[in-house]
Amino acid sequence: MSAGEADPRAHYREFGAWLAGQSAESIAAKRAEADLIFHRVGITFAVHGDDQGTERLIPFDVIPRIIPVAEWRRIEAGLRQRVQALNLFLHDIYHEQSIVNAGVLPPEHVFCNEQYRPEMQGVDVPAGIYAHITGVDLIRAQDGSFQVLEDNLRVPSGVSYMLEDRNMMMRLFPELFARNKVAPVAHYPDLLLENLRAVAPEGVTDPTVVVLTPGMYNSAYFEHAFLAQQMGVELVEGKDLFVEDEQIFMRTTHGPRRVDVIYRRVDDGFLDPLAFHPSSQLGAPGLLAVYRAGRVALANAIGTGVADDKSVYPFVPEMIRFYLDEEPLLANVPTWQCRRPDHLSHVLAHLPELVVKEVHGAGGYGMLIGPAATRSELEEFRRRLRARPSNYIAQPTIALSTCPTFVDAGIAPRHIDLRPFVLSGKEISIVPGGLTRVALREGSLVVNSSQGGGTKDTWVLE
């Protein structure tokens, strides 16, 4: 937020003045109250391998992250454009594959990708929408512009924290909302339900929508339950569902009831043991066949992962040009594709400054962080890059922007990112802002909750 110590950015001025007028004790008391309420409400995530039900809070910071409305409008337009293109891309590669045929995207990026689902080839999904819910991770680059770090098109999570963080801020500091025009976000579950109902199979007038969860031991279980409750729909597990007469049903106290739309928070590979992992108990046997016959809608569709893969990510700006004939409004983080000789030679020459990632890797495995690497690690990666250049991409070491945050020593800058949630149905809708994640350790760039990340309320301010 601070351009210089003495000159907070204009949109933080009002909040800064208010904060300066608060005593340290009153803020400390509010922070303790927030912890207590989160514990009581049970907004926690499960810790694996502890059957005594130990649950951790995701740390919540009371200083909001503020985005002026004019800037938000630019972000929003960029998100609409990007998600529209990604949905067109998914429809295309599971049908005509014109983007591959036109030579814009190398075919191996799609067809040798394990996230590509051949079962979906030629399947028509309602309204041609594949990614109904998209979480786009944005960072603010050094020049002040927002850039896309990652598109999450499978089962993006975190929206419940966006909603609960806002509830918490309104409970703790109602006076702030009287003084500032903060764009509301509480209508998200309504929008979500409207979108889910809109993609019901043809001919169904009053669709039955459910949320499918892997169960209460999943780390995002709180969110699944929360969204089902907020939408007023059933929260089901795989064992509640069964297939009969090419329809999918849930077991109820009055016998079977047909299900039309499944907001599934279970990964592709676990949805149907007959089609994917045979040992999965998280899905329903025969679900894929019902889905392919168009008798149930899944949100998101099966096979969306091929569009958020690191090897496809560098091509999203090209997709926008190809499908929409527009220039991208949101840039990617600069990315070198090592499969291209000119990019490879740049990467080899600047290795100590770069982050190198495997194209299909996830979770930080097989990654090189140049500035932190030893001489021998760099040598090892040079060798690997030359041996299999197409397996790698490289990006500059990203300097995430910072936001003032409460830490043990008082208020200090900490790195943040932003995940807005984009809903695609008959039209695209986005509630203003999104989830701001913050790396609480000094100097850390890791905002993940599993590694000491926290969250903040995000204000789009008029």
Binding site: R40, F226, L235, T253
Partner: protein, 322 residues
């Protein structure tokens, strides 16, 4: 409503009620332990407490002596005992967590707060230090749980299944508390209460403790305005429809809630619950006592548990599959 959701609501209520009644059972014995000649019969009383819950064998596997401290530990904090108060409150919360979308925020927060407070109390070793205070706390949390269900939840199917869980469990538990006397004496090898003058006094204190443990001491005085006799205590806790913890009252609630959730499989279950209700409704205490209270209560437990199992099969997740 999803069968699994109904099942979790049913067991959520059952476990909470069971925790409350275990606390009540502890109360009976803790109050008896304050009597002057208690020391001699202490072991018998505590054995009786284990016997009525059918936990004697499990207890003997884990402890070498039936002492007050051991039994209290076993019934309150021992997580290897699935009926201990701590295990019940944990199971209640796990059931609630699995269906928190079907609960109002107030219901969920009440259950979650109970569990969080329980952890503090266990850390402070409250059940060992002051078991009476601990059981008071358990009862209060259970009252709060029922109140917040009645006060905030939509009276839909879920509500009826939660109520079914409460009253099936309570019917079972009241019958067992009434039978505690029999079990204590059976341990002694004497199924019939002795009739010496000293024993009569102990008898009074025992039945007064039973009444207090089900919050019925003052009620008894108001209803009968007379001395406490075993026959009247039994009448109050078996046959009075207006006594909230009596068997008849519990079965009335089971029958009316069952009618609200009726489906095409549940006719036979309704018939059996109705037959049990009719027997209690038209029963006289002389008939109950003729064959002996213990025999009567044993038959009652079989019948009420049969209704409970049938509800699981008709509507919920059958017990064998759970």
């Amino acid at each position: 409503m999803l069968s699994r959701t109904a099942d979790h609501l049913f067991w959520l209520a059952r476990y909470t009620e069971r925790a409350e009644n275990t606390a009540r059972m502890l109360d009976v014995n803790l109050q008896a332990s304050l009597l002057p000649n208690f020391a001699a019969s202490a072991e018998l009383l505590w054995r009786g407490a284990l016997g009525i819950s059918e936990l004697q064998e499990q207890f003997d596997e884990r402890y070498d002596a039936v002492t007050q401290a051991n039994v209290i530990r076993f019934l309150t904090v021992d997580s290897s005992n699935r009926s201990s108060i701590a295990a019940c409150l944990y199971a209640a919360r796990e059931n609630a967590r699995a269906v928190r979308g079907a609960l109002t925020t107030e219901v969920w927060e009440t259950i979650n707060a109970t569990w969080l407070e329980l952890r503090t109390k266990l850390r402070d070793r409250l059940p060992e230090r002051d078991p009476l205070e601990f059981s008071e706390w358990v009862k209060h949390r259970s009252h709060l749980f029922r109140g917040v269900i009645i006060g905030t939840m939509l009276k839909d199917e879920g509500w009826h299944f939660a109520r079914l869980g409460t009253f099936l469990e309570r019917a079972d538990n009241t019958a067992r508390i009434l039978d505690v006397r029999y079990h204590a004496l059976a341990e002694q090898g004497s199924p019939r209460p002795p009739a010496g003058p000293g024993e009569q006094r102990v008898d009074f204190h025992h039945w007064a403790a039973v009444l207090r443990s089900v919050s019925a001491f003052e009620v008894y005085r108001r209803v009968y305005s007379d001395v406490i006799t075993p026959a009247r205590v039994a009448e109050l806790l078996v046959l009075r429809p207006d006594m909230p913890r009596s068997l008849l009252h519990c079965v009335n609630e089971v029958v009316s809630n069952l009618a609200q959730v009726r489906n095409r499989h549940s006719g036979e279950t309704e018939r059996r619950a109705g037959a049990l209700q009719a027997d209690l409704h038209y029963g006289r205490i002389e008939d109950v006592l003729r064959s002996g209270l213990h025999v009567y209560l044993t038959t009652f437990l079989d019948r009420i548990n049969d209704v409970g199992n049938r509800i699981s099969t008709d509507f919920l997740v059958p017990l064998s599959a759970a």
